[in-house]
Amino acid sequence: MLLINCPWCGERTQSEFAYVGDANVVRPDPDTVSDQEWINYIYIRSNPKGVHDELWQHIAGCRCFVKVRRDTVSHEIIGTAAPAGKIDGREA
């Protein structure tokens, strides 16, 4: 079980959160996007071994999205922040 530090509620257990996905995905402009770029945005994800920024949602608590920097090998959580915030510590 992971302990995730919600920027609002403090440390809570993983069971209070829902996993959302890669935090680095940026929605392309739908007016100019090509089909391939749209497919990449919707479906294609990297599957990194090591440090990864991801979004979780504190679904049982404040329902806010939380950005989590996690090592996918050791499950160590390096830091958390609001989705637009910056996480200090080891970079991907």
């Binding site: 609002w8 509620c9 403090g10 809570r12 257990t13 069971s15 209070e16 679904i59 049982a60 608590g61 404040c62 329902r63 806010c64």
Partner: protein, 205 residues
């Protein structure tokens, strides 16, 4: 107050039986349970940094707007519970359906805030007694030690995998806000969990 209003139907009507149950010790029941059908619950959303909004909340409820996460403010009439950034629950004794909401609507008319009466969507189970924290700890994945979770603190969390809002009213008195449809499941689990401490179910209003 208004006798023409229909009384709220208990969410636990099929399972609610006042009485004394379980392993009652020498000190009497370790847990007291009562469904608080007498509470009016309004969800408000607004900008915490907007002075006019905070002022309207203070005027209508007597409570300063709690801007610190997981805290509650209490006045003689109302309790305001922090839910999320810019989201609160206002709880008051039942003045009649929607009255609090209407009063709010008028005082907030010029600003931007959203009000929703959720009294009938939620039920509030009051749990008290010397063993209350032990009972809640059987199903809530948060630290319930009195030094961490004391009076006037609240937390959205899970109880038996059901989303609830826990509010510590006094050291050994908790209110559990639960969606109506889950209330009976939660109630059955609470009573089963409380049996080892001995529990008393009080008549609801």
């Amino acid at each position: 107050m208004d006798s023409t209003l229909a009384k709220k139907r208990s969410a636990l009507v099929a399972a609610y039986l006042p009485g004394i149950y379980g392993a009652i010790g020498e000190d009497g029941p370790g847990i007291m349970l009562v469904e608080r059908c007498d509470l009016n619950v309004v969800h408000i959303a607004g900008d915490a940094t907007d002075q006019a909004f905070a002022h309207a909340v203070k005027t209508e409820t007597g409570c300063p707007l709690p801007t610190e996460a997981n805290t509650a403010t209490v006045s003689s009439e109302c309790t305001v519970l922090w839910l999320a950034p810019d989201r609160w629950l206002v709880v008051s004794a039942r003045h009649g359906e929607g009255l609090l909401k209407e009063r709010f609507r008028m005082s907030l008319a010029s600003g931007s805030a959203a009000l929703t009466d959720v009294s009938n969507g939620h039920t509030v189970i009051q749990i008290s007694g010397a063993r209350v924290r032990e009972l809640l700890a059987k199903g809530a994945p948060i630290d319930l030690h009195p030094s961490v979770f004391g009076p006037d603190q609240c937390a959205g969390t899970n109880l038996l995998q059901i989303s609830v809002l826990l509010h510590c009213v006094e050291t050994n008195v908790f209110h559990v806000y639960v969606a109506r449809g889950f209330a009976q499941s939660l109630w059955e689990w609470l009573t089963e969990g409380a049996a080892e401490f001995g529990y008393r179910v009080d008549p609801t209003d």
